[in-house]
């Protein structure tokens, strides 16, 4: 169980709260969607849940223990842009083995061909690279996967292919999935449960104007 209790977070002491009193729980095998316009703290929440940021108040626990600080983190995050998430000087096979090595059948399912393994990231297209970034975290040690706009840069066909594979593997491994997207139709397809951050922030409609979003 991945548990977040009463999270509060802001990026600076004189800036408005980005995350206010937010609690959520994800059980193994759950698929939960998160939806909100830009500036409502979707990515911040994802980073808090994965331990990239520390909350000002409240805590994130995994099976009632805090997230591991040194060893492999069972809560993994996949971002929108794969080019920023991987080392451009490493070959694909080294990138894939950065955490725990992925299973071969997952690579096949994602359509990663063995000829890519000796190439460098700039020799693959964005869609191909995103598959590599996803394969990297789909190892059995990952228990919760947070997909932050994971397929927003990709064409419809690649998007459908990736989600088919990821949902399958999540079901097999009882992996909890948190899907962040602005695409309501995609979330309807993927998640039985959906969390709308806009309803929890009724008093701060101006956040979008205050925080830069690109």
């Amino acid at each position: 169980m991945l548990n977040a209790e009463n999270l509060w977070f802001r990026y600076g002491t004189h800036l408005p709260w980005t995350i206010q009193e937010k609690s959520m729980a994800v059980a193994p095998g759950d698929v939960i969607g998160i939806m909100a316009p830009s500036g409502f703290g979707k990515t911040t929440l994802a980073k808090l849940l994965a331990g990239y940021l520390n909350p000002a108040k409240g805590n994130v626990t995994l099976d009632d223990k805090p997230l591991p600080k040194r060893s492999y983190n069972p809560v993994q995050l996949v971002f929108q842009n794969p080019e920023l998430a991987i080392n451009p000087r490493w070959r694909i096979d080294r990138i894939l083995r950065e955490g725990h090595p992925p299973l071969l059948r997952h690579l096949d399912a994602l359509g990663i061909s063995s000829s890519w393994l000796t190439r460098y990231p700039h020799e693959l297209s964005g869609g191909e690279l995103q598959r590599v970034a996803i394969a990297r975290v789909l190892n059995p040690q990952t228990r919760y996967l947070i997909a932050d706009e994971m397929t927003a840069m990709l064409d419809a066909n690649t998007q459908a292919l990736i989600w088919q594979v990821v949902l399958n593997i999540a079901r097999q491994q009882q992996m909890g999935l948190i899907i962040i997207s602005h695409d309501a139709r995609l979330l309807n397809r993927l998640c039985p449960k959906c969390l709308d951050l806009t309803h929890t922030h009724p008093s701060e409609p101006n956040l979008d104007e205050m925080l830069p979003t690109y």
């Binding site: 316009p37 830009s38 840069m153 419809a156 459908a160 695409d183 397809r189 979003t213």
Partner: protein, 307 residues
């Protein structure tokens, strides 16, 4: 206004020392754009969408070579003419604020674009002011730096840079990914307005649904070639001609969400025949023998012998 026919782009690369290899990244691409219309270019990454924009702006890397005919306003578009026209008659709406100067206030940047188009400084200032007003940007926005803008404001500033140029052809490269639907709709409406004002607009995107909102015609790219050019209403009425376009339409979350297996062919090993033959459900021996030519069916163009 713009007509591209049989454009092919080849990259020459060195492979292990002095052995040269040629990568055919774009083969036989054709497209034309009339004044007052929005043409969307849709395709997956690596299908040559951005290279098309780079060709029109004359910013291809030096190891690229292209053949084919590029006509802009009836005259061939040579490298020299590209350099003279870009930023004046051909303008780019870039992808994000990362393309603006981070150390310069946005008002000055837009004003400078106008000045580079031969407008006097005073007139450029008024023009910038008018344009910002038109896009609902407060006057103090002019004094902000790019990092102080929200996603929606940034889009409006980027559109302003294209508007002050009086360009005839506007190329918008992936203007929408990762934005909230309302902001997307707003950004697209601005592009539509540019077309209504008599300019030609090329919208480069991977998002078919966004493209359908404003485009008159949609060109679908696959592996560096145009597989289909269809009117926007052909998508919803199910009159698509090419199997790839049909598969792309089916894979949308609002439709069946069923992907087509396989990958786009590698530019180093393009198939002999039809570029789509290895993934096509309709494939026959004739498909793998010859590359099909673009032909006209039902007021649209398709590159398939079975359509």
């Amino acid at each position: 206004m713009l007509s591209i026919s049989n454009l092919s782009i080849t990259f020459t690369q060195y492979n292990q020392g002095l052995r040269r290899k040629h990568l055919h990244v774009i083969t036989d691409l054709s497209l034309d754009v009339q004044a007052g219309e929005v043409v969307a270019v849709v395709g997956s990454s690596g299908s040559g969408k951005s290279l098309l924009a780079h060709t029109l702006l004359g910013i291809l890397p030096t190891n690229a070579e292209y053949t084919g005919t590029l006509l802009f306003q009836g005259q061939p578009l040579t490298q020299k003419r590209c350099e003279r026209l870009r930023g004046r008659a051909i303008a780019l709406v870039p992808q994000s604020v990362a393309y603006l100067d981070p150390l310069m206030k946005v008002g000055h940047q837009v004003q400078r674009v106008a000045q580079l188009n031969g407008v006097s400084p005073a007139a450029a200032r008024t023009l910038t002011h008018q344009t910002f007003q038109r896009y609902d940007l407060a006057t103090n926005t002019q004094r902000r730096y790019p990092f102080q803008l929200s996603g929606g404001m940034a889009r409006r500033v980027l559109v302003s840079t294209a508007v002050v140029t009086q360009a005839d052809l506007v190329i918008a490269d992936e203007p929408t990914p990762g934005l909230h639907p309302d902001v997307v709709r707003e950004a697209l409406t601005h592009l539509r307005e540019l077309a209504e004002a008599g300019r030609g607009v090329i919208l480069i995107t991977h998002d078919i649904e966004a493209a359908l909102q404003i485009a008159d015609r949609i060109a679908v790219f696959y592996a560096g070639t145009t597989v289909e050019i269809a009117a926007a209403q052909d998508f919803s009425t199910g009159r698509l001609r090419h199997p790839y376009t049909q598969a792309l339409w089916r894979s949308l979350p609002k439709n069946d969400f069923i992907p087509l297996p396989g990958n786009q062919p590698n530019p180093e090993q393009l198939p002999e025949g039809c570029l789509f033959s290895d993934r096509c459900p309709w494939v026959t021996p004739e498909c793998t023998a010859n590359r099909p030519a673009l032909r006209q069916i039902n007021n649209g163009w398709v590159r398939c012998i079975h359509a």
